[in-house]
């Protein structure tokens, strides 16, 4: 854009004492300052072909390479997705379709699948839910952060926000609220089928939550004992849970409120179709890919009912790049916008040459 600093105006913007006589009488004459006289040095961008068209081309030239870069990156991400909801009658999990929250024994099913390409880097294992409105206003509110932070009084006296999931059988629920109550409780196990033998793949369940969540936001109740059972004394488990919060995991640093699966669940998703990080598959050595191409089987302990509200459940295996998971959108968007800008630049140039240029001289009369 055109830069037109008016130096002259700046120059006479200084306060002048000419008008004010040296007398004691104070004049009401306004100060002759650039600010008060509204003559501050100013830049006046004017939309002219000379300034606008280059901008279009420059935007185009910058955006297209960025877009290509993002697109390529996104395409290099390996991703594999299995819908195991079981709505399809042919699906192995079809039998579990109408499972309820606490059905015993748990319904299990196994889905076999084949990876055509190896997953070279660390693989992230997600579970995905669709049509699950974790962003519902009352749902989002239905938690007690101070209880989750280990506040003892909140533990026994959950916030009103948790209603009606704050007490059960006259005992306070820990963790209270609808979010916790509806925690995803399927168990997914992954096996590589190598020559008909199922080799279990190590799924790392730590490091899936935000570090700040795990270490700052979520804390187990404090007390003079390390025994979580004792610490959670006087509370009861959420209605839908099969077991209380202190029995989520066997490891002490992943149990109770600081169970990472729980923490991940408590971070409510933005959209009704979302995925949540479930496990990490770390690359063992540099020689082998994390997941080789080949046959795999997924063992599912099917506890989580989604069929009633037309929800879908998925298991996703994905590698990630510097910009996160696989999503071609941003790359395409950049390329498109860049192209549009470029195109617009050309069109405007043509228009300008056809109509603008000739008339410019006539527009300010000679």
């Amino acid at each position: 854009m055109a830069v037109n600093y008016n130096a002259k105006e700046e120059a006479d913007g200084h306060p002048s004492g000419v008008g004010a006589p040296g007398g004691a009488g104070k004049s009401r004459k306004p100060d002759n300052t650039a600010f008060k006289q509204q003559r501050l040095p100013a830049w006046q961008p004017i939309l002219t072909a000379g300034t606008v068209l280059p901008a279009f081309f420059i935007i185009g030239l910058i955006f297209i390479p960025i877009g290509i870069g993002i697109f390529v990156t996104s395409n290099n991400i390996r991703e594999y997705e299995i819908d195991y909801t079981g709505t399809d009658s042919s699906s192995p999990c079809n039998k579990c379709l109408n499972v309820s929250w606490n059905s015993t024994p748990p319904c299990t099913c196994t889905i076999n699948f084949t990876l055509n390409q190896p997953f070279e880097t660390n693989v992230f294992m997600y579970y995905g839910l669709s049509n699950f409105y974790q962003n519902h206003r009352r749902y989002v509110k239905s938690r007690d952060d101070s209880q989750l932070n280990g506040d003892n009084s909140s533990l026994l006296h959950p916030s009103k926000e948790c209603e009606p999931y704050s007490t059960s059988e006259n005992k306070p629920i820990a963790p209270c609220g609808a979010i916790a109550n509806s925690m995803f409780n399927d168990t997914l196990e992954l096996f590589r089928i190598d020559n008909e033998t199922r080799i279990p793949i190590t799924l790392n369940k730590k490091g899936i939550a935000w570090w700040t969540d795990k270490n700052v936001k979520f804390r187990n109740p404090s007390g003079n004992t390390n025994n979580l059972t004792a610490l959670f004394q006087g509370t009861t488990k959420p209605v839908n849970w099969p077991k209380p919060v202190y029995m989520l995991d066997s490891e002490a640093d992943n149990n109770g409120f600081i169970n990472e699966d729980f923490i991940v669940w408590m971070r409510t998703a933005a959209l009704p179709t979302f995925r949540k990080l479930y496990r990490l598959i770390e690359r063992k050595n540099n020689l082998q890919p994390t997941l080789q191409a080949g046959k795999y089987s997924l063992d599912i302990t099917y506890n989580y009912p989604v069929h009633s509200f037309d929800g879908r459940k998925r298991m996703i295996l994905s590698t990630i790049s510097w910009m996160g998971g696989k999503n071609p959108f941003l790359g395409i968007a950049y390329i498109t916008v860049g192209s549009i800008c470029f195109f617009l630049g050309v069109v405007l140039l043509v228009i300008h040459h056809k109509y603008g240029n000739r008339n410019t001289s006539a527009d300010i009369p000679n």
Binding site: Q38, P41, F63, L330, P365
Partner: protein, 1490 residues
């Protein structure tokens, strides 16, 4: 003490008292015994404390809140905030939701508090003014504050004091028991009004003693009728006297000309008539705000639609799940699920909370802030400051600044608004001989010039006077005087100016300039001659008739000027008292007996006036020489001092020496010090001052005698028998006096020429004397016409000598008339008519009411800006027309329609007739005009005024106006008035003025501005959309009623064209932006509802949501609203047409609201869906997703503003950067501050984490680009196409500003010229045949850059005055002019440069050569320039090269040349500079586009 009583009984039961009291009883406070007076008795009557504040410290909070909740928006926001406390529907944390509302309320409350505090301070100032109140214990008048004055107190007032309360006048130092008051503060009338002491107290022989006042006053309850006061006073003797308004001194008036008065307070404080009349400030709502409110309602509607949509959506969403309750649908508190319908209803309320931002909460408060800042800047504009009076523009209405940019009609008062309201005596004619007072005119001209040149000359008076000393000595004196006055004014600086402004309140004149009149030497000589011979005649006891008729006429003329008025003489040195030299107590002839007694031939009883006066003044009337010169009179003293200095200068010539001697001869006056004349109208004072310049000075006036100081004769005392005051029907006033020299009874009459001429004594043409008279009359009439053309106010002076018998018979009837009760006015009128006949014409005067500086230019510019200017004046038709001509409101080529009708029917037919006439005329002209318009090509917009026939002026007088404003005729009148370029309403009453304004405002739906200075303009000022008061000498009434007060009329130009435009465009843009911003932000939330089951969830953290408007995005728009300049001031002033954009509301039209809404919709879609798709099916959580959206929205909104901002200053940059930084800082701090707070969002570490992710930055870059791309490119496309094919004015103005300064100013000139010339199609060539000589020069001037040089070559062209030389030099400066000129000419220039040395003129000729060609083709002077062409052949070559350029510009140059004619030589240089750049303009423009 005092009490209200019901009727007269004081004993009736108290419960009835309140209901039945009709009168108020006032007793003296002094009567009560001391202790009782001390008792805190609760008086039902207000004391004199003024309290205009709304709040007290305690009541502020509740009262202010109460008032704020009158604003619907506040109620709405509080309601919504309170909704948050209902758990079922709440969307945000309730406390947080209250924050913005409280913030807004607090800001408003602080503003109110501040306003109230300033009111409190001004109240305090008034309350602590001191006045003299009689104190019982001290037995004298003591100083007390106004607020301590109570009803029943005795107050003594001195001259020039302001009356603190409504006071019943009980005593006056005036022997006649009169008190003069000036009511300017109340009704704006500057003349003095008489008030009378209550009759019985008048007859007291001893001095009035408050302690002896035992009477009881019964009067009306306080009311606001200024012209009525009734009551009676009951004396202890039981007698009663009536009280009338003549006995009441009203609060706010000023005591004048009366040394001391005393009275008892009747009404105090808020019960005074002045305060009861003062209905507080009105709340005006600007047009823009009205329009905005409509759009706010639209917003409400949109909000409701959105909420309903969500409601239905949520209902359906809940319903689709039926009985299978999903886990994420949380049941109610009691564990039961809501039914879909109930859930939907709750959601509706929730949605209102969530979407509340759509109604911009900060809009109103932002607008208030912006307007306050705009007002600040208007205040600070030094161009709106008047050095002379040290006053600046005041904005009294804070909320209608933007209306200034939308005005369509200006209604202006004349006197004091367009003119200075300082009458200056300019010319006179006596007995048929005109005395032009050239010297005086020159002096005035010099004065003005010197004043304007003040900066340059810088007090180096010597050089100036030296230069002028070559010319006549008279002018030396003049120059010296003007210089001395100037320097006096300058060095005297503020204090002097202040003093002058104070004095101007007391007298009609402030500056010495107007008071001094340089006498016409011829006339002065005649006067002296006359006086000398009179002296001779008197000393020789010869009859006066020995004087030649001419001399006697002159003598009488000046006598008439001096005594035929109601001027009151005061002397400023003493505490203003009447200068009275009372010889004997005599009242005007009251009875026949009196008459007989006083007019008996023996004259024993009364004694001789003349002898007594001369006996008193003999010693002084002796001619004195020498010593007393310096001690002589008043304003003359400066003059005399200068003259004395000059006496030593060798250049003195005889003529002046003699005049000086004359002065010395008469230089002494009985009083030392200055006499000041206070007159009802400035005209009168001007005439008296004029007479004094001829040494015929009024030195004293009593009710029965007038003393005049005459040269040689000394003091003459005229016995004043009657004064027949001025009235607007007779249009004249007369005095009946007894001439002290001849003892004749003379009537001196002064009045409008139209009436006086008819009343003259018919003279037979037979006798030579009559013949002579006739000649004189016709000559005088001629001169009068001349005066009128010059715009002078004319008055005729006439005389009649009455024989005793005539007088006796008239007196009889007159006394009857005076004593009659019924029809007194009518009879007096008839009586006056009887005596004012058979007059003998003495002469006529021309008094100038000088136009204020720059009025014609301002009017011309305002007109070009599309404003219709109407003048509504109380003045008479002739004067009004003259002034209209003088200020270029009427052109001399204009046709004037004058409407004077005597009845409703005649006015109806007159109007019809005129309409038909115009219709026919108009239809003839349409073809012409359309043709004219097509050639213009520059302003495709046809303003409303273009449909007006350009050369029609409408003049309508008050009476006809009254008919025209009748319901049946008003439409016709309006349609007629709209057709006319200018409308002049004369003799209109204040009410009519306001009716006219109202009519235009209501019927034409036009924006009206009324400007005036006096109280008679108040109603008009109040009715108009914007009222402007001129803070002049006419009191403060107009200013108090106005919305803006300017010191001068010319300030209106900048106020409207620049500030009005700016304020309007800024505010319009800001309002639109506000709507856009909120809609865009809210739409983000709305889109989200589709993905959260319409549950009212928001992805944007509630903190961001709530503070987005108030904190993060408010500053840039405020800065833009305050500081953005779409077009710089010079361009706005230079191209007044730009103002039309405001009139047509171009910046804020209804569709623009919707355009902005659609844009907001689109942008919100972009800002929502880019993150949506980016994060679709990812592990992103609600607020990690919402935060980028907020950031994107913020970027987009600020970038949007950046696109809309036309001028970027440091403030813009910093505000934008500040806003963004503020958001990030707040977000970062907020996100680390507390891991468990702020449910439900709990944004702990969200921002920090986001800022570590590249995707965040990627979407932050792309989204604003995509969001703004359409607006940007459409805007560009629009501007390219519009700017090139159909340039709008604004667009052009903007482009103009980008051109280099020289080109810029030149184009500005061009644009102006072009507009001027549009209606006048014929080029200058067509003018030349009519008046070849003068028009030649016009053409030369017009085309100065071309032919001036030729003309110097052929320098003896008679059409060219001496300024050719100057043009030479300016022409040369072009050759040496800036690089632009090089740029322009290209090779041509270089070529000619090389020749420059040898042929210096040629280069300049070359530069302008291209235009010459075209000029020649259109000029009859072709042949002359043909020779020039032959003489410089190589220039022709160049022209051939430049042909392209020339041809393209031919047509426009045509017009330019014509338009340039009016330019004065100061502009020449600029034009010349501009010329070279002229041709390069196309290049320049191209560069701007590439």
């Amino acid at each position: 003490r005092v009490r209200e009583s019901e009727g007269k009984k004081k004993l009736s039961p108290p419960k009835h008292r309140r209901r039945r009291k009709r009168t108020r009883t006032v007793r003296s406070n002094l009567l009560l015994p001391g202790p009782e007076a001390e008792k805190p008795q609760r008086s039902p009557m207000a004391n004199n404390r003024l309290k205009t504040t709304k709040y007290t410290a305690l009541s502020f909070l509740p009262k202010n809140l109460f008032e704020q909740f009158h604003r619907l928006a506040n109620v709405y926001f509080v309601f919504i905030a309170l909704l948050n406390f209902v758990p079922a529907v709440n969307a945000f944390q309730p406390e947080l939701a209250l924050a913005p509302v409280l913030f807004i309320l607090a800001v408003t409350a602080i503003k109110d508090l501040w306003e109230d505090y300033s009111r409190y301070r001004s109240d305090n100032e008034i309350n602590h003014t001191e006045c003299l109140v009689y104190c019982r214990n001290e037995k004298k008048y003591m100083n007390r504050y106004w607020k301590e004055v109570e009803v029943g107190d005795f107050v003594q007032l001195r001259c020039n004091e302001i009356i603190p309360a409504d006071i019943l006048l009980l005593s006056s130092s005036d022997p006649d028991g009169l008190c003069h008051i000036e009511t300017a503060n109340l009704d704006g009338e500057t003349n003095l009004k008489q008030r009378q002491v209550v009759r019985r107290f008048l007859e007291l022989d001893s001095e009035f003693d408050p302690l002896k006042f035992t009477s009881v006053i019964e009067c009306e309850k306080p009311n606001n009728d200024l012209s009525r006061f009734r009551g009676y006073i009951v004396h202890t003797s039981g007698k009663r006297d009536g009280l009338y308004k003549e006995n009441l001194l009203l609060r706010g008036c000023t005591v004048r000309n009366t040394e001391e008065v005393a009275g008892i307070v009747i009404y105090a404080g808020h019960e005074t008539k002045a305060l009861l009349n003062n209905s507080g400030p009105r709340y005006k709502r600007s047009k823009l705000e009205r329009q905005m409110n409509i759009d706010v309602l639209w917003c409400v509607l949109i909000l409701i639609v959105m909420c309903l949509f969500s409601t239905i959506g949520h209902g359906l969403w809940v319903w689709q799940y039926g009985e299978k309750k999903p886990v994420f649908d949380v049941p109610g508190l009691d564990g039961n699920y809501l039914s879909p319908v109930l859930a939907a209803v709750y959601i509706f309320l929730t949605m209102i909370i969530v979407f509340q931002v759509l109604i911009p909460i900060s809009l109103y408060v932002s607008i208030e802030i912006v307007k306050a800042c705009q007002v600040f800047f208007i205040h600070q504009d030094k161009d709106l400051y008047d050095e002379e009076t040290d006053s600046q523009l005041q904005c009294r209405a804070l909320n209608i600044t933007e209306d200034l940019g939308q005005m369509q009609y200006i209604f202006s008062d004349k006197t004091g608004t367009l003119t200075e309201n300082k009458m200056v005596f300019r010319r006179c004619t006596v007995s048929g001989i005109e005395y032009s007072h050239d010297a005086n005119a020159r002096r005035l001209a010099m004065y003005q010039e010197a004043d304007s040149e003040e900066e340059e000359t810088a007090a180096k008076g010597g050089t100036l006077s030296q230069r002028n000393s070559v010319s006549s000595h008279q002018s030396i004196k003049v120059v010296h005087r003007s210089l001395s006055m100037k320097s006096h004014r300058r060095t005297g600086s503020r204090a002097e100016a202040k003093r002058a402004s104070i004095l101007s309140k007391h007298t009609a004149f402030s500056s010495p300039m107007e008071k001094d009149i340089t006498p016409d030497p011829n006339l002065l000589e005649k006067v002296n001659e006359c006086a000398r011979s009179l002296e001779v005649t008197r000393s020789h006891e010869q009859p006066l008739s020995k004087l030649t008729p001419e001399l006697s006429d002159i003598f009488d003329f000046f006598i008439a000027l001096t005594i035929c008025n109601t001027v009151v003489v005061t002397s400023p040195d003493q505490p203003r008292q009447k200068v009275r030299v009372r010889f004997e107590l005599k009242s005007p002839v009251k009875t026949i007996e009196d008459f007989i007694r006083r007019f008996t031939p023996s004259r024993l009883t009364s004694g001789s006036n003349s002898s007594s006066s001369s006996s008193l003044t003999t010693s002084k009337s002796m001619p004195r020489l020498g010593s007393s010169i310096l001690s002589s009179v008043s304003s003359e003293s400066t003059l005399l001092k200068l003259e004395e200095k000059l006496a030593h200068s060798p250049q003195m010539n005889n003529n002046d020496y003699r005049s000086q001697q004359d002065r010395r001869a008469i230089g002494c006056r009985p009083e030392e010090g200055e006499l000041r004349y206070e007159a009802e109208s400035p005209d009168e004072a001007a005439l008296v001052y004029a007479a004094r310049a001829y040494n015929c000075a009024l030195v004293g006036r009593l009710s029965d005698q007038v003393s005049v100081e005459l040269p040689h004769l000394g003091r003459l005392t005229f016995e004043l028998l009657h004064t027949l005051g001025f009235d607007s029907i007779r249009k004249r006033m007369s005095v009946v006096v007894r001439h002290p020299l001849t003892d004749e009874i003379s009537v001196y009459t002064k009045g409008a020429d139209s009436v006086i001429m008819d009343l003259l004594l018919p003279c037979s043409s037979d006798d030579p004397r009559g013949n002579h008279q006739k000649k004189i009359q016709s000559k005088t009439q001629n001169y009068l016409n001349l005066y009128a053309v010059d715009g002078l106010r004319t008055l005729c002076i006439a005389k009649r000598v009455l024989s005793k018998e005539e007088y006796a018979s008239w007196l009889k009837s007159h006394l009857e008339a005076e004593s009659s009760i019924e029809n007194r006015e009518e009879l007096l009128f008839q009586s006056a008519l009887r005596i004012e006949t058979n007059l003998h014409l003495l002469g006529a005067t021309g008094v100038e009411d000088r136009l204020q500086d720059g009025v014609p230019e301002t009017i011309a510019n305002l007109r070009k800006a599309g404003l219709q200017i109407w003048i509504l004046t109380g003045d008479k038709q002739e004067t009004a027309i003259n002034i209209a001509y003088a200020c270029k409101l009427l052109g001399h080529d204009e046709e004037i329609i004058t409407l004077n009708a005597e009845s409703l029917e005649t006015s109806a037919t007159l109007l019809d007739h005129c309409l038909q006439y115009i219709e026919s005329k108009f239809s003839n002209n349409t073809i012409d005009k359309t043709a004219g318009n097509t050639t213009v090509g520059f302003c495709p917009l046809s303003p409303p005024s273009s449909s007006v026939h350009s050369s029609l002026g409408l003049v309508i007088d008050g009476k006809t106006l009254a008919y025209a404003l009748d319901k049946t005729l008003e439409d016709k009148f309006l349609s007629l008035a709209r057709r006319c370029r200018s409308v002049l309403c004369c003799r209109s009453t204040p009410l009519q003025k306001s009716m006219v304004v109202k009519l235009v405002r209501d019927k034409l739906k036009a924006m009206t501005l009324a400007i005036g200075d006096g109280a008679n303009d108040v109603s008009m000022i109040q009715v108009a959309d914007v009222g402007v008061g001129i803070s002049g000498p006419e009191g403060m009434q107009a200013v108090m009623a106005s919305d803006f007060a300017v010191p001068r009329f010319r300030h209106l130009e900048k106020l409207l064209l620049v500030h009005g435009h700016w304020c309007y465009s800024r505010l319009a843009n800001m309002v639109l932006y506000f709507f856009y911003k909120n809609a865009m932000f809210v739409a983000l939330l709305f889109w989200y509802q589709f993905y959260c089951g319409f549950s009212g969830s928001s992805m944007i953290d509630q903190w961001y949501l709530i503070f987005f408007n108030v904190l993060f995005s408010s500053l840039p728009q405020l800065v833009t609203g305050v500081l953005d300049k779409d077009i710089p001031a010079e361009v706005l002033i230079g191209v007044p047409h730009l103002y039309k954009s405001g009139q047509k509301m171009e910046e804020y039209q209804p569709h623009m609201f919707w355009m902005n809404m659609i844009d907001a919709l689109y942008q919100s879609l972009v800002c929502f869906y880019i993150p949506f798709f980016t994060y679709y099916d990812s592990e992103v959580d609600l607020f990690s997703w919402g935060t980028p959206i907020t950031v994107i929205a913020l970027f987009t909104i600020i970038l949007h503003l950046a696109i809309e901002t036309k001028t970027w200053t440091l403030f813009h940059w910093s505000s934008c950067i500040f806003s963004i930084l503020l958001f990030f800082i707040v977000a970062l701090v907020y996100n680390v501050s507390c891991p468990i707070c702020y449910p439900p969002s709990n944004p702990y570490w969200t921002m920090e984490k986001l800022m570590g992710e590249p995707v965040f930055y990627l979407i932050c870059i792309i989204s604003p680009v995509v969001a703004l791309l359409p607006r940007y490119s459409i805007l560009f496309l629009y501007r390219t196409l519009q700017g090139t094919i159909f340039p709008t004015q604004l667009q052009l103005g903007r482009q103009l500003n980008r051109l280099p300064p020289e080109t810029h100013s030149q184009i500005l000139n061009r644009l102006n010229i072009k507009k001027e010339t549009i209606p006048q199609k014929p080029p200058c060539a067509e003018h030349s045949p009519q008046n070849p000589l003068s028009n030649d020069s016009d053409c030369f001037k017009a085309c100065n850059h071309t032919p001036s040089l030729q003309s110097s070559q052929y320098g003896n062209d008679p059409a060219f005055p001496s300024n050719t030389k100057a043009e030479h030099t300016t022409g040369l400066s072009v050759t040496a002019s800036p690089p632009e000129s090089l740029l322009c000419g290209g090779n041509k220039q270089m070529e000619s440069m090389s020749v420059e040395e040898t042929f210096p003129w040629n280069t300049t000729v070359d530069q302008s050569g291209f235009s010459l060609l075209n000029w020649i083709t259109s000029t009859p002077l072709f042949s002359r320039f043909g020779r020039v062409l032959q003489l410089s052949p190589h220039r022709l070559q160049n022209e051939a090269q430049d042909n392209m350029c020339v041809l393209g510009s031919i047509s426009s140059l045509h017009r330019d040349f014509k338009g340039l004619t009016g330019k004065n030589s100061n502009d020449f240089q600029e034009q010349l500079k501009g010329t070279p750049t002229n041709c390069c303009k196309s290049e320049t423009l191209e560069t701007t586009f590439l």
